[in-house]
């Protein structure tokens, strides 16, 4: 198996592998196992809150306003607006 890595990433990986007395292969395998374990733990442990990754500027300096379509019900628009307010920090 061959993998291709960005040279800078490879340099840093070698550095940290060496600093932990690991081979580069073992270092990479360890990282992969950590990620797999984290994902499996997330599925198993439903009692744990899952952080919501929000790719949005924070804090928002303006309120986001949902754009209704002609066929949207008032309930749908209100629900989407509540959602926007929560993720953008404008919820009261």
């Amino acid at each position: 198996m061959t993998i291709r890595l960005d040279q800078e990433v490879l340099n840093q990986a070698r550095f940290y592998a060496e600093s932990e007395n690991r081979t580069l292969t073992n270092y990479i395998e360890t990282l992969i196992k950590m990620d797999i374990n984290a994902k499996q733990a997330r599925v198993r442990d439903l009692s744990r809150d899952t952080p919501v990754k929000v790719f949005i500027a924070e804090p928002m300096t303006r309120r986001l306003i949902t754009n209704p379509r002609a066929n949207n019900t008032h309930e749908e628009v209100t629900s989407r607006q509540e959602y926007l307010d929560m993720i953008s920090g404008w919820a009261k």
Binding site: V43, P51, K53, I56, Y83
Partner: protein, 152 residues
Amino acid sequence: MTQSLLPVGAFVWCRLPMSENPCNPGPKDHLHLVYVEDSTDDGSVLTIYTTSAIWEPKARTPIGVLVVTSELASAMGQKPFVLDATRIALLPVTSEWFPGLAEPGHGIVLIADESFQKKVTSTAHAALSRASNLEYFAPKAPSCQPGLTPPG
């Protein structure tokens, strides 16, 4: 009021950012769902992550995740997929983030019906109600300049 090219409920080819590089579009085109159009900006849309990777069959579904089964997916003309409302992004409607935007269909594969959109709303609100915190990334923040890799 300006209407975005990407309506609510659209499954569209999108380059949702990766958490390790939130300022820039992700490396590959994937189908993601438009959940909200923001009317106050230049037509930004809030997208929700989807993946065709199958959830572990016997595992219970985490809060904020909607597993779309074969039956439901085939009714939409799709393969089974998972919608993960714990990963969302407010993105400008540009070809940089939506590579099919300039094409005739704007990269939209389908528009979900009202019934499915209600499931999405329920899932999205559930994700927020169970979230202990929001991990903010900022593709539109002033610090996110084109080509800039944010500090790790």
